[in-house]
Each structure stands twice: as structure tokens, then as C-alpha cells.
């Protein structure tokens, strides 16, 4: 495993440089993971992009950096403690020097100088990309090809400038490497058919494959990508992305579309989600399918818009006034995000209910290598639920849209279906949809709606795990934390501790008995989550699952856990528990 990082000012092309390296590494057969630290501002402010590459799947960032490309002196100051025996590539222009105590080899290149020579100072990042490729031993033509593809629709002059910058950086570094005492050692690649993708990408692809054709949204970090990407895809398939005036309109438009039979979605983050609470209740009550993506970020209020957190969970499940059924699912990897995204549309139509996909900023934004065959759009299952055509409606005077049934699911009709007219209202109603205040009807309707979604665990395994059979300890989490737990597991197993990773896929309705059964024999369980109040632990308590074997590890400073943190906490915990015994 090797980690490479580039840092500089926001707006300087740090992202695209990282992107280029990552795609190149992926094409060369490495598994990659990308990570970025950025601020809620457009230009200026320090930002960095980190790539981890290995010949096995990687699912989290690392603490250590092997190669640091520092476009500004600040990059060195901010990151030098991560470099232990690594290499720092810096720009001669600012006469770089290493802070005291830094154990690193400094390679100083005339990045600014070269950019000026090529005639475009903004190309400094491309020169750094070339230099990085050379240092990593990537063949020039592989990175050049990717860059060519990436800029294929740009003006010829830009393409040419990029090419020249890339070459210049590459050559300059080659001259250096000849002189260096040692070079970074790369694992041999593990070739395969892989793509590089973020969770947000996977969400879009899942929605696209599932037949979602209406996306009504309002921009918000880190969900905006979803709207922007679907804006690209939808014209290819006849769908429409609608930028609404706010999130109240976004969700309500999607509910309207779902009522009329379209597969429709919206995507937002915390502040928008809070605004959607009332309308989600409307979907629960009218039993209208709708899919909502919440890419969680650090809250409350505006909070830290560019920092990751998993702190909306209770709000997603319990945040609306009154009690209405909501399905909340949480993917734990990019592949699962694709799976959950298409499944969400099936679940929404099957259960006629709002389905919320809870991701988090880290899962939503960071790139990963994914097997191409895991993202198999054309062969996903499609379940449209029980939809009656005119002939199925029967003879009764008016259609019983909310008929009581054994499983609580009442077949619905779509507008346009003769004799299928009904009233869908957020007011309590009888079987035909008309307003009813009858106490008996009320109780039955409440029971029906909750019973209905109870069926989900049969359709969809609510928990996944690895290594559980003989594990001493299980790391339990959701979302991006699962990737971290997987990396922590590798560390813990290396130190001899049999470790499992368990992740919840369905948060509401909560899989209580499944959780209890699965972990019945596990001696210790660490619930790892990125929030302050231990929301997953709270859910486990409400579900009567949490007992003295469970321990909580939380973090809420905006920075993801490192696998090392989780491993260390787990080891200390076990040591302490043994002492107690």
C-alpha cells in the first residue's frame, strides 16, 4: 500500500490532479481510495487530496503519507507529521525547507518556473501530476492517455498545454529520480476491470438503472453532485432534473411524481433534510413512494458543510411529527450505494413509503476502485409493487386504495387508470382515502402502515458482516465507518485478534431480532460511529439489543476515524476488560 498526497490552495486544481493520478493508478491495475480535505470556500484556503493505492481493495484513508506534493509551503507545515521516511516534492519557487524533525527526503522541482515556460502558470498542477507519475513509476503514456480523454472536449490549445505540462513534469522528475538514494516501492498491481467512483456517482447510477426519471433537488454540499450528474445522464433516457426553489418544493415535487407513477427522488444534506420532515410524513401517510438521499455532513444547523458526520440518523427515523413509517437504509461502500440506490426505488414502490438512503460525506465524495461488474445496471431486479390496472380494480363503487390486507400493503392505482380514482391525503382516512376520524379506523390504519414496512427484512438482508464466525470482537458501524472498520480489522488481525466487521444496512424498521441473533455469541462489540451522541447505540438500545457486551466509540470533530484509532481503542478496551476479569 502506498499513499500519495497533493496539497495547495483551493481553486488551484488540486482535485483534478488527484483525479488524474487516481484514474491512472486504477488503469494500471491498482485498487485506489481517494480522500480530500476541503473548506466551505471557493478559492484560497488550503486543501489536499490523498490517494491510497494497493493491490487489494482499500476502503478508507490512512494516517501516513508516503509521498507529499506540496504546492505551497503551508502544505509542508500542515502535513509534515504524516511523513515518516517518505518523500516531499516541493516547488523551488518558494525555497522549500523541511520543518525540524521531519524524517523525509525533499525533492525540489521548478514547478512554477516550468509552468511559466509553458506559458500558463495555472498548469502548475499538471506539472505536478507528471512529476508524480514519474516518481511513482507510472508509464507516461498511461497518464497521458487519461489526461487526453479527460480534456477531450476542451480547446486544442488547452489540450496541448496540458500535454506539455504533463511531459515537462514527468521529464523533470525522471532526472531527479536518477539522483535519488531510493524510490518509493510499489506493490505489483492486481489488474481487473475496475472503475473509479464515489458514493454519489453510485447513487446516480443506481437511480438511473432503476428507472428513476424525475430528480427534483436544491443544491447543497455534499449532495449537489447527484443533481449535477443526473443532469448529464437524464437527457439520455428521457428524464428531467428539476432545480427547485427550496427543499420543501424538492421533496413535494418528487412525491407528486411518485403519486403519478414516476420513479422520483431528491437528494440533500442535513439542513435540507430538516426542511423535508413535514413532507416525508405526507408520503408516509398517503403511502406514496419517494426516495430521499441524505448525504450527511457535520451539523447541527449549517455546521461544517465540508466535513463528514453520521449525525442525522435519529432525525431520519424519528424527525417528523407524529408517527409514520419510514424506511431508512444505509449503504456501507460504493458498491452497496449502487445496490441501495436501485433497491430504494423497489422498496419505495413495494412498500409504498418514503425510503431514505443515509450516506455520509466521506462515502458520498471519496473515490474508490470498484469492480465494473458490481455496477451492473442492465440486470438489476425491478419490483414495482402492487399496481392495479383498470381490470384488476373490481366492481365496488369506488376503489379501496387503502384496503386492509394481510401484509398491510394495499394495491394502488396510478392516475390515468380508469375507475381507479381515489383521494390520497395526509389527513387520517378510511379505506377509500376519504377523511375519517373514526377511532377504530385510526388504530387500524396506524397498525397497517407500520405492519407494512415490517416485511422489509425478508426482502433485504438487514445486516452484513465479515469474519464473524470465530471473532473475539466485532466492529459495528454503518456508511463510511464500515470501510474504516474493515481496515481496522486488518490491523487487529495482524496483531492476532480475531475480529469481525458488522454493518447495518437497514436502520428503519430496525432489525432487532436479526441483530440479536447474529451477535448472540460475540463476546465484545464495539459500535463505531461518527457522531457525538452515539446514535447507533441509541437505536440498539431502543431495539433492546445493546447490553454490557457493547461499547461505544464516537468521533465528532469532522475528521474521519483512522483505522489505527479504531484498532487502538479496541485493543485498549480488551486489555481493560481482561484486567477487570
Amino acid at each position: 500500500m502506498l499513499s500519495w498526497k497533493i496539497g495547495g490552495d483551493q481553486g488551484e486544481g488540486i482535485d483534478s490532479t488527484g483525479d488524474i493520478l487516481i484514474h491512472t493508478a486504477n488503469r494500471l491495475g491498482y485498487y485506489i481510495y481517494g480522500y480530500k480535505s476541503f473548506s466551505s470556500r471557493i478559492k484560497g484556503g488550503h486543501t489536499n487530496y490523498k490517494m491510497i493505492m494497493a493491490n487489494r481493495p482499500i476502503s478508507a484513508t490512512t494516517q501516513k503519507t508516503d509521498i507529499l506534493v506540496a504546492l505551497t509551503p503551508q502544505t509542508i507545515t500542515l502535513n509534515s507529521q504524516e511523513i515518516n521516511g517518505g518523500i516531499i516534492v516541493a516547488d523551488q519557487a518558494y525555497s522549500p525547507s523541511l520543518p525540524q524533525g521531519t524524517d523525509a527526503m525533499l525533492v525540489s522541482l521548478a514547478l512554477s518556473q516550468m509552468a511559466k515556460e509553458i506559458g500558463s502558470p495555472v498548469m502548475r498542477n499538471m506539472i505536478a501530476a507528471g512529476a508524480s507519475a514519474a516518481l511513482l513509476g507510472f508509464p507516461l503514456e498511461v497518464i497521458a492517455q487519461y489526461v487526453e480523454k479527460r480534456f477531450q472536449f476542451k480547446a486544442p490549445s488547452i489540450i496541448e498545454a496540458n500535454r506539455r505540462a504533463l511531459h515537462a513534469g514527468y521529464q523533470a522528475m525522471l532526472q531527479e529520480t536518477a539522483r535519488l538514494p531510493w524510490l518509493p516501492s510499489l506493490e505489483s498491481p492486481h489488474p481487473g476491470e475496475r472503475v473509479v467512483m464515489t458514493g454519489n456517482d453510485a447513487t446516480c447510477l443506481g437511480a438511473l438503472a432503476a428507472g428513476c426519471r424525475i430528480m427534483s433537488g436544491y443544491p447543497i454540499t455534499p449532495a449537489t453532485d447527484i443533481m449535477e450528474s443526473l443532469t448529464k445522464y437524464f437527457p439520455m433516457v428521457g428524464g428531467a432534473v428539476l432545480q427547485m426553489e427550496d427543499e420543501l418544493a424538492s421533496i413535494t415535487c418528487a412525491i407528486g411524481a411518485g403519486f403519478a407513477g414516476a420513479r422520483a427522488m431528491t437528494a440533500t444534506s442535513g439542513p435540507g433534510l430538516s426542511l423535508m420532515q413535514e413532507a416525508i410524513g405526507l408520503a408516509s401517510m398517503t403511502e406514496t413512494p419517494v426516495v430521499i438521499v441524505d448525504t450527511q455532513r457535520a451539523g447541527p444547523s449549517t455546521g461544517m458543510p465540508t466535513k463528514s458526520e453520521q449525525s442525522d440518523l435519529l432525525a431520519l427515523i424519528y424527525g417528523g411529527h407524529g408517527e409514520g413509517p419510514r424506511i431508512v437504509i444505509a449503504p456501507s461502500s460504493v458498491e452497496e450505494t449502487f445496490e441501495d440506490a436501485y433497491e430504494a426505488f423497489n422498496l419505495a414502490e413495494h412498500f409504498q413509503a418514503p425510503v431514505i438512503i443515509a450516506t455520509d460525506l466521506s462515502l458520498a465524495l471519496w473515490q474508490q476502485s470498484v469492480e465494473r461488474k458490481a455496477i451492473d445496471g442492465p440486470h438489476i431486479p425491478i419490483d414495482r409493487g402492487e399496481v392495479y390496472s383498470s381490470s384488476e380494480i373490481g366492481e365496488s363503487a369506488s376503489f379501496q386504495r387503502y384496503a386492509f390486507t394481510a401484509d398491510g400493503i394495499s394495491p394502488r392505482t396510478l392516475p390515468g387508470t380508469a375507475a381507479g380514482q381515489f383521494l390520497a391525503t395526509g389527513v387520517e382516512h378510511g379505506v377509500e382515502g376519504k377523511v375519517s376520524e373514526d377511532p377504530l379506523n385510526r388504530s387500524r390504519m396506524m397498525d397497517k402502515r407500520f405492519k407494512k414496512i415490517g416485511g422489509i427484512h425478508d426482502l433485504r438482508p438487514p445486516i452484513r458482516h465479515e469474519g464473524l464466525r470465530d471473532a473475539e470482537v466485532a466492529l459495528l458501524g454503518i456508511g463510511s465507518v464500515t470501510g474504516i472498520n474493515k481496515e481496522a480489522r486488518i490491523l487487529l488481525e495482524q496483531s492476532g485478534l480475531k475480529t469481525a466487521v458488522v454493518w447495518l444496512r437497514t436502520l428503519s424498521p430496525f432489525p432487532s431480532s436479526q441483530c440479536q441473533d447474529l451477535l448472540a455469541k460475540t463476546r465484545h462489540i464495539v459500535v463505531v460511529e461518527q457522531n457525538a451522541t452515539g446514535q447507533i447505540s441509541q437505536l440498539l438500545k431502543m431495539a433492546n439489543v445493546f447490553d454490557s457486551r457493547y461499547h461505544s466509540l464516537t468521533k465528532y470533530d469532522g475528521v474521519p476515524f483512522f483505522a489505527e484509532d479504531v484498532a487502538r481503542f479496541t485493543q485498549n478496551l480488551l486489555t481493560q476488560l481482561e484486567v477487570k476479569h
Binding site: 424525475i214 439520455m236 427547485m244 426553489e245 407528486g256 407513477g261 414516476a262 422520483a264 413532507a279 392516475p415
Partner: protein, 287 residues
């Protein structure tokens, strides 16, 4: 062909005897028959208020949403299935207080839906508070000394906000009202029909009698040109909007026809496995 009775439901009305909303319902039913609409292809999206109960009394696909959100819901429905006749219906509070933002944006977005606002200048269902269209000086439970808020002028706002069709009807003037609804439905874009629909319980000022005395029917004024925006604005200002008829209309192409690549068939029928070649092409972008 559908008849009036096809649009009726067995539900007994919860409106007060004499409520203006009865007239709106009647005119709407007549208009639907006249445009040859079909209950099965008609979608009515109602807001919260006395007015919003209309969905209980009309036989069509009805969605009764949260307070103030009829327009985004109607937009979603229309885009999902353009073959439907889509109407949004709600009160003056629903439309111009909590729904004001959506209203202004629906105007500019110009989707082919019709919006009936049942305007009684008061909050009916919550038992008589000032509404955005309440007159200055109007006494209610929340304005015992008379309202001090400049009222919203919905027609003027609609025109200024980019509307392509604006009309005002009166619940008592059935033939004109149903004709205006017909015109609104057939207008290829967003149509606002503000309907004066007196609340006999909580508004003892803006009564049927008062309106009959004060309203001027612009449809009968040959000098009035509903296509000339400046003249329209001037007339609205000088009449304090106490007019009925087709207020403003301009040529319009509905939003849904302007969206790049957007399918014109019902989207429900578009759900099926995605094309393999297209998929491969898309995935290639991630390599």
C-alpha cells in the same frame, strides 16, 4: 364523454351552508366536462384549508398535500404524466402565505397546470385569522384592531412574476368562472385563476353582496386588452384588483417541452432495464 355526475363523490360536504367554495366546485366540475376531461385522467392537488377539502367531493385522482405545497406536487404529477389534466387548488393562505415562494416560482416555471385559488380574504379552517389578501383594517381574531399589513395583490404579482395566464373569477358568477377555468386548462402553460369565494362565517365584510356591487367584469369591457402587460398592470392598480375575467394572457410554451431530452410519455411506462450499450458508455467515463 364524462358527465357532471361522473365527477361527483358520495361524500357529504363539510363546508358551511352558503360557503363560496360550493360555487368553485360546481364551476370546476362544469369546466372539466366542457374540456372533455375524464375523472381517470384528471389530477387535483389540494392544499390545507376549508378550500382544500375539495378533493373529498370530486371524483378524480386527488392528492391532498401539506399546507402550501400544492404547486410543487402538481408539477411533479404533470411532469410524471403529461397526459393528465392537472389542477392545483387551495385557499388564499395556502397560496399566498405559506405557499408564496412556490407560487412565485410556479409562475416563472410555466408548467402546464392550472391553479385555482379559492380566495376568501381570511383563514377559514383555523377559524378566522387575517390572510395575506385581507383588506387593511379587516378585523379578525389576530387583528382585533384591524389588519395593518398591506394586502397581497395576487393578480399584479402574477403578471409581474412572469405569468402567462392570469384570470379572476367569482364563485357566484358561474358561467364566467367555468369559462375561465376552461380557458386556464386549455392554456398551454401555467394558469392562475384567483377565485373570489366568500367565507360566510368569518368574513362579514367581503360578502357576496359587497362583491356584486364592487366587482367589474373585464370580459365585458371591449377596451381592455389582456395581452398588453403595461395596460394590465395599470388597470389592476387602479381597480385594486376588484375585477373579474381574463386578466392577462401571452403566448406560451410549457416548461416540460423545453427540458432537454425529456420524454413526453408517462414516465411510469419508462421503467425497465436500461440499455446495455448506453450503460457501457456511461461506465466508460469512470475508467
Amino acid at each position: 364523454m364524462a358527465t357532471l355526475s361522473d365527477f361527483k363523490t358520495a361524500e357529504k360536504s363539510w363546508w358551511c351552508p352558503g360557503c363560496g367554495d360550493f360555487g368553485v366546485l360546481a364551476a370546476l366540475e362544469k369546466a372539466l366536462v366542457q374540456v372533455n376531461a375524464n375523472p381517470a385522467t384528471t389530477a387535483i392537488i389540494a392544499g390545507i384549508g376549508c378550500s382544500g377539502k375539495i378533493g373529498n367531493y370530486i371524483n378524480s385522482y386527488n392528492l391532498h398535500v401539506t399546507h402550501g405545497r400544492t404547486l410543487p406536487a402538481a408539477m411533479g404529477i404533470k411532469l410524471a404524466n403529461r397526459t393528465l389534466t392537472v389542477l392545483a387548488v387551495g385557499g388564499d393562505g395556502d397560496a399566498y402565505a405559506i405557499g408564496m415562494g412556490h407560487f412565485m416560482h410556479a409562475l416563472r416555471r410555466n408548467i402546464n397546470i392550472t391553479y385555482l385559488v379559492m380566495d376568501n380574504h381570511v383563514y377559514g379552517l383555523t377559524k378566522g385569522q387575517t390572510s395575506p389578501t385581507s383588506d387593511m383594517g379587516f378585523h379578525t381574531k389576530t387583528s382585533p384592531d384591524g389588519s395593518i399589513d398591506e394586502p397581497v395583490h395576487p393578480l399584479m404579482l402574477a403578471v409581474a412574476g412572469g405569468a402567462t395566464f392570469v384570470a379572476q373569477g367569482f364563485s357566484s358568477w358561474q358561467p364566467q368562472l367555468s369559462r375561465l377555468i376552461v380557458q386556464g386548462i386549455t392554456h398551454p402553460g401555467f394558469s392562475l385563476i384567483n377565485v373570489i369565494s366568500p367565507c360566510v362565517t368569518y368574513n362579514r365584510v367581503n360578502t357576496y353582496e359587497w362583491y356584486k356591487k364592487t366587482l367589474v367584469n373585464l370580459d365585458e369591457d371591449p377596451s381592455y386588452k389582456s395581452s398588453q402587460r403595461a395596460q394590465v398592470l395599470a388597470r389592476l392598480e387602479e381597480s385594486d384588483e376588484l375585477v373579474t375575467g381574463l386578466i392577462f394572457q401571452k403566448p406560451s410554451r410549457p416548461y416540460e417541452e423545453l427540458i432537454t431530452g425529456f420524454s413526453s410519455g408517462p414516465l411510469s411506462e419508462q421503467v425497465g432495464p436500461i440499455n446495455q450499450d448506453l450503460w457501457d458508455h456511461i461506465l466508460d467515463q469512470f475508467e
